[in-house]
């Protein structure tokens, strides 16, 4: 038995190997890799059920746990198998292109993530791989990176699936779909974005900007089915309150798919349309109680087989003729017989004709459906028939093609032929001995493995569907080009994605990059506002003056300081302003003196003198003094200043009103002499009790000096180059 993590690991390992392979060996290696993956797919399918788990982040209850069982096993095997074919196809498709290696490495990495997604049983492990598939899908859609359309489509797909992924994360964190209605809605939204169900369908047609191998693999056979797979795994058949929404969404998606299948002419867009339909069908199937994994797996596998084949055929046609416009193509069967055969086989499957696997899958699904779902399923089936006829038959039949065409090398038609053949032989394989026991284990009461249901009503309804579809296909081929719809969700999203940056740009001009003075005003205003908010929400405080009433000389000093500051405001000359501020500062020094701190007072005096001198020296180099602010600005600034000053005073009064005990200063006063051996308490604090602060401040001064010298040296070196 192979441990389950092996199936995830091989993809990543192979991607690494591809990245270091020399370009010459790439072709041989990818053919070998393709075969290896095909064999792996078979081996995986034959494995007994097993699980594997490792604790990842127990703190958050996250583990990596993989399980090989039932639907997971079928899906993973499908991913590996088609992956192998796609790798071979991509090698042929890109040929000598230098980007071939990058494409294959990315495809393999994506494949590994996708296998991880379907095998994961832990919600966050699932989310990990979910996001990885979104990311690789982004890189792959934008593979033609010189094309702005591809870049935009890639971005759109990533943003939509990324947003859905985040919503899904919330749903998973809330305990998954079964935990609560809110969680179920979150999971549903995540699944709908990934599986391109209306209203999130619009990114999928855009994703066709990717090279064909990518569209075939990611946006048809595998990744987009991750969403509906999640619906199935999370047991949405039991979450009945969401069924109406899901059915409505599927119905609208089906209508959109039908409309696209009639109006589009690009082979890949047509196929994308029917992919939308198939996804809607799978979503419906997930809501049917008792449908069981067998019916779901059958539809999923049948669709992957014929759709993968047809995508590769479309790529082959493009490669051979240089166009994908279905109206320009006809009669290719003579030039491309192998491709035509494969196309016919896949087309028959897509129309749901016996004896293909798709026929059986469709009949089973219809047999399970209630009337409302039945109608939607028929709608989707009509769309599928239209696309099948237009893509698999019209290009190959009819009058000879006007274009030069040649058969492609086997790498390009082998893949589709294998897939189409499997679709045809599928029923035989189902009946055969190796798979039968395994499949029986998937079956439920209501979906037994019965290949032929007989000529019942269902059969005739199916015949009618096919007839209507063929008729519509002929009509669609002749009708003139459709006008672009008035409203396109893709365009709307695109314009939103371009508008967000321009809003952001305006916002950033609003909140930063204004005048420095305005910023300063804002900072002080915010400070005053926050202090007020804090005071009020804290319930204010009681003012109680513990201090003595002010003495006469204190009043004089404070009045002097305030007067000097006030006069400075209305002065028109710099010298006068500086002198007045000097007076104001000196008054503060006088306060220190009055409170018995002569050393502080001396320091303050020195600083005031130095400041005045330095300013006066600096003024010589400054332009004339001008008043730059208007009246309203001054009023605003004055209000801000008053508010800030007022709040500071208020808080200071509050501090002075409250009792403190056992403070630091008491300790310093007591210990300065006995412990620090200094009679000047301030000095003992600076050089002993809190010496580290002083060291830091010395560093600041030194850095300032270095900075000034750097500025001066810089100017010198610029003037003498």
């Amino acid at each position: 038995m192979v441990p389950p993590f092996f199936w995830v690991a091989i993809g990543f390992l192979m991607a690494l190997i591809v990245m270091v392979t020399p370009r010459r060996a790439l072709g041989a290696l990818s053919c070998f890799g393709g075969v290896f993956l095909g064999v792996s797919a078979g081996v995986l399918l034959s494995q007994p059920a097993s699980t594997w788990a490792v604790a990842w982040v127990p703190a958050l209850g996250v583990e990596l746990s993989l399980a090989v069982e039932g639907l997971r096993q079928v899906f993973a095997s499908l991913i590996l198998g088609i992956g192998g074919l796609i790798v071979v196809f991509a090698t042929g498709y890109l040929g000598a292109d230098v980007r071939c290696r990058k494409l294959i490495a990315l495809l393999l990495a994506f494949m590994a993530s996708m296998v991880g997604l379907v095998l994961s049983t832990d919600p966050l492990g699932l989310f990990l791989f979910w996001e990885l598939t979104s990311f690789f899908s982004y890189l792959l859609i934008g593979f033609e990176d010189e094309d702005p359309v591809a870049r935009r489509a890639a971005r759109q797909a990533f943003v939509i699936t990324g947003a859905g992924g985040l919503v899904l994360l919330v749903g998973l964190l809330m305990g998954g779909a079964s935990a609560s209605p809110a969680a179920a809605i979150c999971v549903l939204i995540g699944a709908m974005t990934k599986s391109a169900l209306w209203p999130f369908h619009f990114w999928l047609p855009g994703a066709m900007a990717a090279p064909t191998p990518i569209s075939a693999y990611l946006h048809s056979a595998t990744m987009v089915k991750g969403g509906v797979f999640l619906l199935f795994v999370q047991d949405f058949s039991k979450i009945e309150f969401l069924h109406p929404y899901l059915i409505a969404s599927a119905a609208v998606t089906g209508l959109i798919a039908l409309r696209m299948s009639l109006f589009e002419c690009d082979l890949k867009k047509l196929l994308a349309a029917s992919t939308l339909g198939a996804l809607a069908m799978l979503a419906l199937l997930a809501t049917i109680p008792g449908a069981g994994p067998l019916a779901f797996a059958a539809v999923l596998v049948a669709h992957a087989l014929y759709k993968g084949a047809l995508f590769m055929i479309a790529g082959g046609i493009d490669h051979a003729t240089g166009t994908r416009n279905v109206r320009e193509l006809s009669g290719l069967r003579k030039a491309m017989p192998m491709t035509a055969t494969a196309a016919a086989l896949a087309g028959v499957a897509m129309m749901g004709l016996p004896p293909t696997l798709a026929f059986w899958a469709k009949e089973t699904a219809l047999g399970l459906a209630r009337p409302a779902i039945f109608a939607v399923l028929e709608l989707i089936a009509v769309g599928a028939v239209v696309v099948a006829v237009r893509v698999a038959f019209f290009p190959f039949w009819g009058r000879d093609c006007v274009r030069e065409a040649h058969e492609n090398p086997p790498t390009l038609w082998l893949g589709p032929a294998v897939l189409a053949g499997l679709g045809l032989l599928g029923p035989l394989l189902l009946m055969g001995p190796p798979l039968r026991p395994f499949l029986s284990s998937l079956a439920t009461q209501s979906s037994q493995i019965a290949y032929w249901h007989g000529f019942n009503a269902l059969f005739f309804v199916s015949l009618g569907t096919i007839a209507v579809g063929i008729g519509l296909a002929f009509w669609a081929q002749k009708r003139p080009e459709a006008r672009a719809p008035a409203f396109s969700a893709a365009d709307w999203t695109e314009s939103l994605l371009t508008r967000i940056p321009s809003w952001g740009s305006q916002l950033s001009k609003l909140v930063s990059g204004g005048k420095l003075r305005n910023e300063l005003g804002l900072f002080f205003a915010v400070a005053a506002g926050l202090m007020l908010f804090g005071l009020i929400s804290g319930g204010g405080f009681l003012l109680g003056f513990r201090t003595l009433p002010p003495t006469f000389e204190e009043i004089v000093i404070v009045a002097l300081a305030a007067l000097a500051a006030g006069v400075a405001l209305v002065q028109g000359s710099r010298i006068a302003v500086i002198a007045l501020l000097g007076i104001s500062g000196s008054a503060i020094a006088l306060i220190y003196l009055a409170y018995g701190a002569p050393d502080l007072a001396i320091t303050q005096f020195l600083i005031e003198m130095l400041t005045v001198i330095l300013f006066v020296l600096g003024f010589a180099r400054l332009p004339r003094f001008r008043s730059l602010s208007g009246g309203s600005t001054r009023v605003r600034d004055a209000l801000i200043a008053l508010a800030f000053g007022g709040m500071m005073s208020l808080l200071l009064l509050g501090v002075l009103s409250s009792e403190t005990s056992g403070t630091l200063s008491d300790y310093f006063l007591q210990n300065a002499v006995p412990e620090a051996y200094g009679r000047n308490v301030v000095n003992t604090i600076i050089v002993d009790f809190r010496a580290l602060d002083t060291l830091g401040e010395i560093v600041v001064i030194a850095m300032a000096a270095l900075g000034v010298s750097a500025l001066l040296l810089r100017r010198k070196s610029r003037s003498t180059p």
Binding site: A59, R99, G142, I500, S502, W503, F541, S665, A710
Partner: protein, 486 residues
Amino acid sequence: MTAVHPLMVSLLTAGMLLAFRKNRWAMRLLSLAGGLVHLGISIQLFREPSGMLQLGSWPAPFGISFLADRFATMMVLVASIIGLAVLITSWIDVESREEKLGFHPMVHVLMTGVCGAFLTHDLFNLFVWFEVMLMASFVLLGLGEKRVQVSGALRYFALNLVSSLFFLSAVGLLYGWLGTLQMSDIAIRLAQTEERGLLLGIGALLFLAFAIKAALFPVFAWLPVSYPMPSFGVSALFAGLLTKVGVVAMVRFYCLLPADSTLQSFIIFAGLATMVVGVLCAIGQSTIRRILSFHIVSQVGYMVLALGLFNGLGLTACLFYLIHHILVKANLFLVGGIVHRIQGSEKVQECGGLASAYPWLAFLFWIPALSLAGLPPLSGFWAKLLVIRTGLDQGNFSAVGVALAVGLLTLLSMIKIWNEVFWKPLPERTEPPPSRRTLAILAAPSVALGLLTILLGVFAQTGIEWSDQAAQELRPQVVLLEEPAE
């Protein structure tokens, strides 16, 4: 190892470097050696956090306390890694003139300030380290040639000086009120006080001082004008460390306060507003460093939000986010430096074609970019997951919604850089491509930081355990219990 060793190493290195201002290679080697020793000491300190240290053996709370707890040592270690990365980048990135004008000593002084701010347990001493940081970073900003650089530096200096003013005023008021500066002692006294008005009034001023440093909305305007100015290495250093020092101070201070629901919801609101405004502004920018600068604002918002959520895993989320963000954001600036070196421009319109020309650079970009946007399994995913989980646990759905939406917009912004700089065809090549040696030196630190981001994602359990341990030590009641006896 004790809490002062990292500072001693940085300061001694800076001092010695002043003696070698003429010899470029002597400076570089000495500087690098200093960085390596610093890293070694930080690792040792992280492995065995040495706890409280009383400087000069003056008993607490009278002397200055340093506290090397799990939180501080974790931050010092990350800072040391970023410092070393930038020193290596500077060999290419910083012009020899700037080196001679004192680039190397300035970086080490900056590291002194940063580590001092992380390790100190004294509010006034914290202010001193803020000043050291401010002065060193101002000089680093002004070293460059361009005139516009000087104007950005001036704005940086002026607005940060306002923060210093608020800080000093608040410390003064607090000291006048409580009569103490040591943080644990402040916590004890605050727990006993009944005057909530005074507490919240002064607290608001102190919070604003830290908010300016951390660049919260609406007081972040100094950041986007100054960070894109100097060389990329210096930008990376600032981007990684400076705003985060503000956040660390906020965390420390918040943990000293008695629980208060008004304060808590206010901090949550500040975080949310910062996240939204920051990310919207970021998307609107058109040069790499301006985009990244606004993302700093937005990401700091996440940390503050997590701090506001606080209970349960909230504080753990905040600390884990800090570690993750420092590694990632510095790395993105370094990658931006490589882009600039190759293309000669950092305007996204003038760049292009890097994905096919330099595939390895694509890896170097995506690791931090996806981590920033929060994609699994990278570190940013776990950081965001912790925040979202806490929000859900506390029933704060608006916080969860905003956190997710901002994550998506962050992703959109990273997509913008990728689409323009890496995918779009190159407009016209003007500069000759840099030599392999140049690119190797520039890429080496980025590779190392990218590996650390991946490791922090893969071994998220360990990172979360560390953060959780640090958070448990920080919680007020624990701080009270660990109050050292005299």
